[in-house]
Symmetry: C2
Subunit: 590 residues, 2 copies
């Protein structure tokens, strides 16, 4: 009876058991569509990563099969994606010259390290770490990466040499070399870009509404846009011999299945790529899990974050050992896979077969494929990731979130992708700590005629001369412990007649060791000033913890179950006054 | 009328205006006592930092005057302290050979960088940053540093060469060289250590209780212990010519006032010391502000964190330009200064005069001072910082806090001081995020006969079939947004008959942009499942913010002022049932 354990270790065991004929036909249709989409994408993203075209194909074969076995999402389409390719280029070009064998080795090493890290994170159940990337940081990162990637591809559209890792570097290089623009390349690049934008925005409605083609077929035809662009421009280059006129072409791609490769055994190299591999892993995981969860939710299925880590880890290890580069679940491709009816990860296996067939039989067809066409497919794909509306929404809703987002965008564009994501995460965390380091604290009084206590600044309430009731609207922990002390000392300094301070803890979900020391200090300080210190409405788990410390024994006052109970015992007259008004009012109403 | 602005920029302007003769006599007494204490300490901490003895004296003159002008604490005694000296040694020895002029230059550069950073933090009002160091991390750091410093001084007590930056390195070196122990050095070192421990623990009670000396005089005599040790051992070395028998002595110290120095103008050096300078600044500031606040509280005075930053920054800049090394407010010296009656920072100025006189006239007296005696004063001083009780208390109270503390201690001892403090801070923050990333969520029902709603697992309450009420006990932000989604989906998956979900937000102090997106996703997902989504008891500031987003327009349900109001509208029958029982019970009681 080891099958259940196999099921949970290898998700494929579960869906394979109930796999049927009609699943296969659905998966086959999806696989054909995704393969058509993936062929130009895999070549294009390899180019974006600075790698030979065949590496893109290799990264789209074994990794897909590995993910189908170990991944938990049924619709995720794994393979090279734009942002991870950009990050691969940034990391690999720091340690090797683009175009050199060392550069390819660095890409393979990144895939291996990223695979190992993802598997380790999955085994250690660290899926929750992805939550450290806040939505505004992810959104800003994707938008800025999209802009950066689109800018980096303009050189191919113009047929000049103008790369760079920051927007400033790219724009400067473009400005310097724009005079060298090749008119044939520009014609192809601009034409392909315009055509692909038109396909994306206008073709589907046209096919559907004007020509009466079914929505599904219209969608399918629209997705084939890049293939059409590839066929037309490749034919044009071949027929008119535009390669001789300076149009950059893909050239010869080795035919055949992926080679068995191993990452270079170089610990120094691994060390210098480790941080980049970690960032690639985390960003890739976040992109992948987001789309996997969205798609799973539509079918009321569940995606397990720790299985996803292992599945993506396996895919990257497969990439490393078959001449590929880092991969993850792509957003648009997965949506297409899902919409085309993929029922199980078998669709991924069939896609891999399709790409393998391409690698074996079709690579000679890509000889005349102009790089400008690949650049056009990249530009059109990534500009759809740019979401300027999100920037505005975030600005309106929350300035700290906007600050984290803006920092991420500016640093991605101005310094680079890795610095951008690290700063974004750091700033998110810092701003959260800063927000909670100055918690909202209100002096409360009793709402006349009720047992409720509310902020004296917002409500007309009854307060006591001798008892100061303070509600703190935040968990008490190291970042705000000192602020709490300062604030309470300020409040009592203004009230010499005070005999009691009651801290209402209804919104306190945690009191950590630092805050406990601050409470002890407050208790002692109030004691020397002749003021008793009480707590009220302490939550169960917080109280359980306090009972393990000496604080409750040292506390000069009591812990009351409710704020009213505290006031009823410490200043019954004021409570009577507050609640007496009810009587008055009711008598009045009669 | 610019005086008020001068007052707030230069705190000295305030206390100088009302300075009187009796303040001067009080400050003078304190200054004499602190000077007696500071002379051996300044020499010892310079040795700990790997610097020539005179550097310790230089760091105890101008910095004290600078602090007196710009600092805000009235009792703080600034100068070299153990932990910062250890950190200086760790940082400087990474970029230069101890004993070389470059090493002294690095120490000066650290003082300058630290001074600039402190001033900048003060001007930017970043005093709250010190709160990121949680109490357990600080406590663990101080304890581990104390152990590390004491271990590092054993070589001087034994008269062997066995340094190192980790406990393992030091112990290994001690084990390897213990055979070379110099018996004369050991006699002096062990004798001085024993004597100083005895003075610390037994002398004061002896003087006070047996000999009837007044507590103040007894205290004073006990503080002079190190001076007595210096006098006796120096005389012994001089008389018996122990220097010739291998006892390491301080040797000749240049006579005179501090030279005017400038840090080496070397941007690479500054860059490689920047992180260390930042850590020195933060640790120094935390040590200083803690003691300053404790002492100020005793006299009901206030210390302003941002003024303190500027004051300590000025002190470090003064150190950099007068041949010193990083300084801060020392704990034990400040307590002595306070207890001896220091009324104003003038005590610091007078102490500086005392040390200056020492530098000009007394340095020849230290020629035969054995390093073993200085090591003994360091060991006795730092072992009093070791607080093993705090480790146990933290363990009992909170495992996450204990984890941060243990990590800090182990990494300080095993890797080094800087790595220790960085890991401690990182771990504190990570553990806090982890704690709040899985918030406590309770399904609530109405307590019969009341308007209160409580956790169904802890109380006997009335719940509805059609309305699920969930209370979330944490602010909603990026680290827990996804968890909230998952948890709510899990809860509704088990309840097919559900029509409404009410999220009770009484403990939600913040909803950030990530959490807002999660609420939008929950709203949409519940909508497709035919379930309405409501909020209740949303706090004022949270509501204000929500009104800036589109969420409230998209919300399928309502926002209720109270949980009872929500239930009364969504399922009046259940509320009637819950509140009807009161009647029943009351009737029953009759």
């Amino acid at each position: 009876m080891r099958l259940p354990r196999l099921d949970s270790a290898i998700p494929a065991a579960a869906w394979l058991k109930s796999y049927r004929g009609r699943d296969l036909s659905a998966d086959l249709v999806a696989a054909v569509i995704v393969t058509i989409m993936l062929i130009p994408q895999s070549l294009a993203y390899a180019m974006l990563a600075g790698l030979p075209a065949e590496v893109g194909l290799y990264a789209s074969i074994l990794p897909l099969i590995a993910y189908a076995i170990f991944g938990s999402s049924r619709a995720l389409a794994v393979g090279p994606v734009a942002v991870v390719s950009l990050m691969t280029a940034a990391a690999a070009s720091r340690v090797a010259e683009p175009g050199s064998p060392e550069y390819v080795g660095a890409a393979i090493a990144l895939a291996m390290l990223s695979g190992l890290m993802l598997v380790a994170m999955g085994l250690a159940r660290l899926g929750f770490l992805a939550n450290l990337l806040s939505h505004p940081v992810i959104s800003g990162f994707i938008t800025a990466s999209g802009i950066l990637i689109a800018a980096s591809q303009l050189q191919h559209v113009l047929g000049i040499d103008a790369g760079g890792h920051t927007l400033v570097a790219i724009v400067t290089a473009l400005a310097a070399h724009i005079g060298e623009t090749n008119p044939y390349t520009l014609a192809i690049g601009a034409g392909a870009t315009t055509f692909l934008f038109w396909v994306r925005t206008n073709l589907k409605p046209l096919l559907r509404d004007r020509l009466g083609i079914s929505p599904f077929a219209a969608d399918l035809l629209a997705k084939a846009g890049p293939v059409a662009a590839v066929v037309v421009t490749t034919s044009a280059v071949a027929i008119f011999d535009l390669g001789a006129r300076g149009v950059d072409i893909v050239g010869s791609i080795p035919e055949g299945l992926p080679p068995v490769t191993a990452p270079p055994l170089d610990l120094d190299l691994w060390g210098s790529l480790a941080t980049s591999a970690l960032l690639i892993s985390v960003i890739g995981f976040v992109e992948s899990i987001s789309v996997a969860q969205t798609l799973a939710a539509k079918k009321r299925q569940r995606v397990d974050a720790n299985h996803e880590l292992k599945g993506l880890g396996a895919a990257n290890l497969a990439a490393a050992f078959s001449g590929g580069f880092p991969v993850t679940g792509g957003f648009s491709r997965s949506v297409v896979n899902f919409d085309a009816g993929a029922e199980t990860p078998m669709a991924g296996v069939l896609t891999a077969v399709g790409i393998a067939a391409t690698a074996v039989f079709l690579t000679p067809l890509f000889f005349y494929l102009p790089k400008a066409t690949l650049a056009a497919t990249i530009i059109v794909a990534v500009l759809s990731l740019v979401d300027l509306g999100a920037i505005k929404r975030t600005f309106v809703y929350s300035k700290p979130d906007f600050a984290a987002m803006a920092a991420t965008i500016l640093i991605v564009l101005g310094v680079g992708v890795e610095a951008g994501v690290v700063s974004g995460v750091g700033l998110s965390v810092a701003l959260y700590l800063w927000r909670t380091s100055r918690p909202h604290m209100a002096i409360v009084g009793q709402v006349p005629g009720t047992e409720h206590f509310r902020n004296v600044d917002r409500h007309s309430v009854v307060t006591s001369e001798e008892v100061l009731s303070i509600r703190v609207d935040e968990s008490l922990y190291f970042a705000n412990a000192r602020y709490l002390e300062d604030k309470i000392y300020d409040m009592i300094a203004e009230r010499p007649e005070l005999k009691h301070v009651v801290l209402q803890c209804s919104a306190v979900n945690l009191i950590d060791a630092s805050a406990l020391e601050s409470l002890e200090a407050i208790n002692e300080r109030l004691h020397t000033a002749g003021v008793q210190f009480h707590l009220s409405e302490v939550k169960g788990p917080v109280m359980d913890r306090l009972q393990r410390a000496h604080f409750l024994e040292e506390l000069t006052g009591k812990v009351f179950l409710s704020q009213r109970q505290a006031m009823a015992e410490l200043d019954p007259d004021t409570v009577a006054r507050a609640e007496g008004r009810r009587l008055e009012r009711e008598l009045h109403a009669v």
